[in-house]
């Protein structure tokens, strides 16, 4: 039986090594700069670090994919081409792209460099996947988090490309690649500059309660409850039709599809992906370890598979808001 693969995030070299030690089949990383959608200070790889990471992974027969999934505006285009060239020279196992121009560049200039379609491209129907396959010979699609399990099954029946599905981590409730909330409030586009809710625009004021603002605009106020990373989608707003102040878009919660593991495998998903290149080495190690355990447990006896309580309690330690969600995988 072909086993589902596990792809873990890594924001730096030590996370990459930890992910591989804990059982990831592949890791995905970003290069420093605005070429990827996790462009945070202190995160991501320099080319020589990437080279070391690739060598570490390849010696252990694991793969390294590089995320170049921003949509560059005119002045940023060259740095994305440069990032692609670096990846090609260093022998990465594939690049994860959103932008049509970048896909075309790789297809023409970097033969044999596999292209994965990023979640930010929103390839959420067979015709769109077929488009990327026909024109860029893509190998893998990271499925947008707007699909139900039934829709994934439908897609599977129409395509031969590898399907990759997020299993754990932050859930962008808006379709990735079409969310401009942070850009609207800060002027720094998530799509082009690569960071949602950049830390330099955040202000934390603590009086009786913790008040969090983005570029001077209040997003939320906390008492004792658990706070998520303050993005505009997880802010609290007043609905003027009801007068209620609430999480109008999304409560602080994390995607956890471990209980659906047999369904994802049954749906024909090829790769499970853990979100969180911006998270710590411990997060990467623990989430990788637990998902690996779950995958191995499933294949050792599919009929007896169940999610162990300890896995969930260990995962909760890392979850935003301590709440799990299935997103829309079981229905919208």
């Amino acid at each position: 039986m072909k086993k589902i693969k596990l792809c873990s995030p890594a924001g730096n070299l030590s996370s990459l090594k930890e992910a591989i030690k804990k059982g990831a089949d592949s890791v995905y990383v970003g290069l420093k700069g605005s070429s990827n959608i996790r462009n945070f200070p202190g995160l991501n790889f320099l080319p020589d670090e990437l080279a070391e990471g690739i060598s570490f992974a390849h010696k252990r027969k694991r793969e390294v994919f590089v995320v170049i999934n921003s949509y560059p505006q005119y002045g940023e285009l060259y740095s994305c081409f440069q990032a692609i060239e670096d990846c090609y020279q260093l022998g990465v196992d594939g690049v994860i792209l959103s932008d049509l121009g970048l896909m075309e560049y790789v297809h023409h200039h970097c033969p044999h460099l596999p292209i994965h379609v990023s979640v930010h491209a929103g390839a959420c129907n067979p015709a769109s996947i077929a488009f990327y396959q026909k024109h860029f010979d893509i190998t893998t699609v990271v499925l947008p988090r707007v699909l139900t399990l039934d829709e994934i099954i439908e897609i599977r029946s129409h395509t031969t490309v590898e399907l990759e599905c997020f299993v754990l981590g932050i859930l962008c409730v808006n379709r990735s690649g079409l969310c401009y909330l942070s850009s609207y409030l800060t002027g720094e586009s998530n799509n082009t500059k690569g960071a949602c809710s950049p830390a330099k625009h955040l202000t934390f004021e603590e009086h009786n309660r913790l008040r969090i603002s983005l570029n001077g605009i209040t997003l939320n106020e906390y008492g004792d409850e658990c706070a998520a990373y303050p993005t505009p989608c997880k802010g609290r707003y007043r609905n003027l039709s009801t007068g209620k102040v609430e999480y109008l878009f999304q409560a602080p919660e994390s995607l956890n599809l471990l209980p659906l593991l047999p369904d994802l495998i049954g749906a024909g998903v090829d790769i499970l992906k853990i979100e969180g290149r911006q998270r710590s080495k411990t997060y990467v190690a623990e989430t990788t370890r637990i998902v690996r355990k779950a995958i191995d447990a499933y294949y050792s006896d599919p009929s007896e598979f169940s999610v162990k309580k300890e896995w969930i309690s260990q995962l909760h330690y890392f979850f935003e808001g301590m709440e799990d969600t299935y997103g829309c995988y079981l229905g919208k």
Partner: protein
């Protein structure tokens, strides 16, 4: 420059839409885009109804396009899209898979949700003989200028209206009623202007409209009209409003033809808008801001307008 009208963003129901497009047929619009872009559940108009909306517009010589959904996630939705795209009109593609489908048989405009952020992406799609490209809303004037200078396809820029800031699988209006999409009861019908969401300081930030979030403020590039024209923008897009759309179209038309002074036009639009106006993204600033002295930004921009490694780009 031509004036176009984007697809109606709210769930107005067929009667209001009929009335609305009859009114639009009388105005100075050149091109009209019709279709439900974001919510496949409320995408319920039949082909007959859609053609009925298009008829008065065609009679007045308007060019009509059918705007596809941006989140087509299953075969039922895809089949419905294919049926509708057989209508005798152009197609605004908001999902990439539809682009090659009618190549050579229909005019295809690349919609703003295809995320064409630079000339290379536009050039790639030009092989499908695009009739136009609607650029993403957050592009700065530098990017718009750069794209126009390197592509053949006519470029359209959104100049007025509440801007889409996010689209989800979740319906935010249903959620505010404690309902899922499946149970939604088309609650959005009760909010033809959307629901305003204020932050904790009482600042209206967003409009909730079914599965998507719009800006509560309206973009207004009336002061930038001359600049857009000089840059080579071929078409300006106005987004439909529940009230006053005809007036807004008229103001843009008169200003473009120098029958109305820009400052007067700005003041008239401000009073019609029921919200403050924005142009921040156009100057590379936060989208919600309004930059009064736009020309100063442009001068500064020109000093920094260096395209690195032209041979590669």
């Amino acid at each position: 420059m031509k004036i176009s009208l984007g697809p109606a963003p709210f769930n107005w129901g067929v009667e209001k839409l009929r009335q609305f497009y009859q009114e639009m047929a009388e105005g100075p619009l050149d091109t009209i885009f019709i279709g439900e872009v974001f919510c496949e559940k409320r995408n319920t108009l039949t082909i007959k109804e859609l053609e009925g909306l298009m008829l008065p517009l065609r009679r007045k010589g308007k060019e009509v396009y059918f705007s596809t959904g941006a989140l087509i996630t299953n075969n039922t939705q895809w089949k419905r899209l294919l049926q509708r795209s057989e209508m005798e009109c152009g197609i605004e593609a908001n999902t990439i898979g539809i682009v090659p489908h009618h190549q050579g048989t229909r005019k295809i405009v690349a919609g703003p949700f295809l995320n064409l952020y630079h000339h290379r992406s536009v050039q790639f799609l030009e092989r499908f003989n695009l009739a136009g490209v609607v650029l993403p809303f957050e592009l700065s004037q530098r990017s718009v200028k750069s794209i126009i200078s390197k592509v053949k396809t006519p470029i359209e820029v959104v100049v007025y209206g509440n801007l889409p800031l996010g689209v989800s699988w979740r319906c935010y209006i249903a959620r505010s009623h404690g309902l899922s999409v499946k149970q939604c009861q088309f609650k959005c019908m009760h909010y033809p202007r959307g629901i305003i969401a204020e932050n904790l300081d009482g600042i209206p930030l967003f409009l909730i409209n079914g599965p998507y979030i719009l800006s509560a403020k309206k973009r207004c590039l009336i002061r930038e009209l001359e600049q857009l024209k000089t840059m080579g923008v071929t078409s300006i897009r106005i987004m439909p409003q529940y009230e006053n759309t005809s007036e807004v179209v008229k103001i843009f038309h008169q200003t473009m033809n120098h029958q109305l002074d820009t400052q007067d036009a700005f003041e008239q639009l401000s009073s019609l808008a029921r919200s403050s106006l924005t142009n921040g993204w156009f100057y590379g600033e936060a989208g919600w801001k309004y930059i009064k002295d736009g020309h100063k930004f442009i001068e500064e921009d020109l000093k920094n307008f260096l395209l690195p490694l032209r041979n590669i780009c």
